[in-house]
Symmetry: C2
Subunit: 229 residues, 2 copies
C-alpha cells in the first residue's frame, strides 16, 4: 500500500518542490547532538561514516558514567600530558620516568622521531639507555627545518655531557623514509664534532621473514649488513 | 653491542628477580593519562588494543580544541538526548520532530525495536507514517518482559486513537531474530482486540541478491511471500 505511505503532493511551483525536498532531507536527520558526535568521530583515522554511527549508537546505550569516563579520558590526555624537558617524550611527569630512572644506562642515547617510536623500542625490553625524541623529521617542503625539531636541544645535551662521564654512543633510530634518512644523515654530519660513536639501527630481513618475499632494498641492506657468525 | 645495552644483573634471590621483572614491566608503560585513554577506547565495539593505541596517538597530536570538541560531543550526546514521550525515539526535542510533524500520516504506525531501526527506515525516504519504538525485544532469559518495554504505552496509544480518526494500520518491523519474532507474535496476539490492520514487513531476497547464494530460510520466505505481478 505505497499510496497510503507517501501522500502524493502537488507542486505548483519550483519553490514548493525544493521546500518538499528540504523537508524530506530534514526527516532523515539524526537528533543534533548525535549527528555532531558522528561528525566528530569521523575525524579519527580508520573511522568512516558507518563505524562512527556504530560507535555513536553504542555510546548512546552506555550508562552515563561510562560515557563521562571516555569523554574525561579524551580531554585529560591533552591537559595532563606534556613534553619532557630533557628528552622530549610525551609524559605526565617532568622530567619523565626514563630520564630520572637510576636503572638506565646514561652512556647510550637513542634518537627517535616521535614518542610512539620510543614506546615501540621500550616494548622490546632490550634497550636500557636514554632517549631523545626529535618531534618529527626534517622535511623542507613542509617547512620543517632543524629549528622546528629538538635538534638544538640534542646538541646542547651532548655538549654538556662531553666533559662529564656522559653519553658515549648515539643510536640514530629514525624511520626508513626519505625524511627519516635525511634526518639521520644530517645528524651524522653534525655529530662528528662530538667525537662519539654514532650508530644507525640495523636494516635487514625481519625475524620470521621469507627471503623469497622480501623486497629488494631490504634484501640488499641485509646482505650489506651481514655479520660474522 | 648488546652487553652495553642491558647491564647483566645478578639475582641473589627470587624476590630481587621478581622486582626486576616488575621494573621491566613498568618501563613499558605509557604515561597514565594515555594508558587510561587506551583502556577507555577499548570499551567501544570493533576497537582493540592496536586501534585504541592508534586513535589515542592521533588524539595526542590533534590541537586542544579538536580533542575538546570530541570530548564535548561524547558527553553531550547523553546529556542533551532523551526519549520522546510519545513514540520513544531518541530525540533532542520532546515530543520528537516526527510525532509533531504535520506532514506525517497519523493513520499508520510502525513498531520498531530501537531508534537505530527507525533511522534506517527514515533513510529509505519511503515511509511517511508515525513510529513506536519498543526499546528492545521480549527476552525472558534476560529478564525482559512486556513491562520492561514500551508495550503498555503502545496499547494506550492505540486505545486512545480507536474512537478518534486515528491509527488504522500497525506495521510490525522488529528484526528477524528469535526475540524479534517472539515480540512480533506477542504483539499480533494482543493487537487483535483493537480491530486494526496488523502487518509484518516483507522478508525475501534482498534487491540485487543472487538466488544461488541466498540462505534457505530467506528463499523459503521469498517463495511464501510471492506476489501477483
Amino acid at each position: 500500500m505505497p499510496d497510503n505511505l507517501c501522500p502524493t503532493e502537488r507542486f505548483t511551483d519550483y519553490s514548493s518542490f525544493t521546500e518538499h525536498l528540504a523537508n524530506c532531507k530534514k526527516m532523515q536527520e539524526y537528533p543534533k547532538p548525535l549527528a555532531k558526535l558522528i561528525t566528530e568521530l569521523q575525524k579519527l583515522p580508520t573511522i568512516g561514516q558507518k563505524t562512527a554511527q556504530r560507535l555513536a549508537f553504542f555510546m548512546l546505550k552506555l550508562p552515563d558514567t561510562e560515557t563521562a569516563q571516555i569523554a574525561k579520558a579524551i580531554s585529560e590526555v591533552k591537559q595532563l600530558l606534556s613534553y619532557c624537558n630533557v628528552c622530549g617524550m610525551i609524559t605526565d611527569t617532568n622530567p619523565c620516568y626514563i630520564c630520572t630512572s637510576p636503572r638506565r644506562n646514561p652512556q647510550i642515547l637513542c634518537v627517535v622521531e616521535e614518542s610512539d617510536d620510543l614506546w615501540a623500542i621500550e616494548r622490546t625490553n632490550g634497550y636500557k639507555g636514554l632517549y631523545h625524541v626529535l618531534g618529527g623529521v626534517l622535511s623542507p617542503l613542509d617547512g620543517v627545518g632543524p629549528e622546528q625539531l629538538r635538534i638544538k636541544l640534542l646538541f646542547e645535551r651532548l655538549q654538556s655531557s662531553r666533559h662529564a662521564p656522559g653519553i658515549k654512543e648515539v643510536i640514530l633510530a629514525t624511520n626508513w623514509t626519505t625524511e627519516g634518512q635525511a634526518t639521520a644523515l644530517y645528524l651524522t654530519q653534525h655529530l662528528e664534532r662530538f667525537e662519539m660513536t654514532v650508530t644507525r639501527i640495523a636494516y635487514g630481513i625481519p625475524v620470521g621473514g621469507d627471503l623469497e618475499y622480501i623486497d629488494e632494498v631490504t634484501l640488499a641492506k641485509a646482505l650489506e649488513g651481514r655479520r660474522k657468525v
